[in-house]
Amino acid sequence: MNIQRGLALVVSNNRYQHCNPLPSCEKDGADIEKSLRSLGFDVISAQDFMRQDLFNVIGQFLDASDSYSTILLFYSGHGVQIDGENYIVPIDCNPIDNKTIMINTGLVPIHVITEYMNVNPQKTNIVILDACRTSPTFTKDIMQGGLAEIKSGQGTFVSFATAPNRVAIGSSLSSENSVFTGCLLKHIEKPNVKIEDLFKLVRNDVIVQSGGTQNPWESTSLIEDFYFNIMSQDRISEHIYKTIRNRGVASDLIHLSDYYQHTISDIYRIYHKQKSEKPGGIHFSNTAELEAYILHQILELGFEYKYYRWIYKDMPVAMGEFYHDPQVIALEPLPGASINVSFELNEADVSENGCVISGRTNLPTNTQLMIKLQNSNLQYSAQSKAHVQSGIFNSEQFTMNKAPLPSGDYKILISTPIASVQPKEVQLHVGVKGCNLMGPYVSTNIIDGKTVEFQKVITIKFEK
């Protein structure tokens, strides 16, 4: 057997002489060939071949197939079915009314290859047909739109771009792939995905992209599992580590999650495990601590936990499970950045002009404060805005009907608005949703985050 993964025949027809061209087929063939080569296949390529040339290349392919354990046919171009038999349409095919002459002079039957596959069930035989397209000149009575179902023999996997007797969507641009091949190319290199699962991924994408009008179809009788790309866990871990190490942005994590079919949290766990095994790696002895660290990192990358689901830029993502509740951990202070909020009130400055409340706090400069002064006996309640400047804050003058405040006990209530409305420089210190704030004066709300509330009763004495 050949040491390569397999032998592939990639046939793509675009420049038809007697019917409409299929511009995307050329790119389909070239891209599939490139992809198969990178996956370790030997490829025989046949682009825009006439009928006789196509028979010759199929002959070469079948001769060479004896020394490979996996053989694959990919066809992109016009395909037709006549009396339940499928045919490749070569570029020199000139449609005529007589089906016997048409079959014997213009078309290439696919069973030339599938018969070889049927008598070699010990091999992994794969047929991928992106060919179920209609053509204006192929609307004569002898032919039907789409391809007929191929009953696969033992050890054979047959994939159609669409359901039997239905037509598939191509692209009129030579710079684009057809819908089916485009989706196949997106998934074919995903590691350790069984061929059956791979084509399920392709089907899901094609159904979405075609608005449900195209439904890829498979028929399989494979005896053993087949993977286009086999990667060891070590290689996967190293690739994940290298990708995140070099850029480490949210879009990379989303891409890696899609490529390796792992959740984003698992991708980050793999990255961290790989990083900790490198020289100087940091090991967490406590799982809860490690999980908290990972969750903080995920939140710092811009992923958000909203309405009990994870999103990134308003798109839902497959995040997976965490050891901690994201809503709670999101409000925990970042290591070394916590602010244990303290207040120290000065004696009230009472004069004929009113009363000024001032004091000291360790909140960052420019933090907005709301100072409220209340006296229930006098039914007095007033509030003033204040800004922290180098740890000091001062209220505006509190008065009662523009007259000095009467003597008595007053309750002072100092609070901050939610962190998101504070100035940017304050947000940098107090963190997202005020997560860095700590202490007895901090109240926590899962939706709004942390805010500060300080209360004290003071006695105001006004003497003329």
Partner: protein, 65 residues
Amino acid sequence: MNKNEIEQEIYREMAEKLKEIAKMPFDKGLPFLQREAWRLADKYDTDGGNVFNILMTYMNKEKKQ
């Protein structure tokens, strides 16, 4: 080189650079230190953060001795 030898080598190279960085103003020294950490990380197939960890760990060890 095994892991331990790599760590020692990273620390030796980093300690040399620290002598240069010590003479720089902080705003120039910090990015220089970061660049140096990533250069060594690339050289020894590890991570910039891990290089800092090696530096801190070995400096603490020396201090204790």
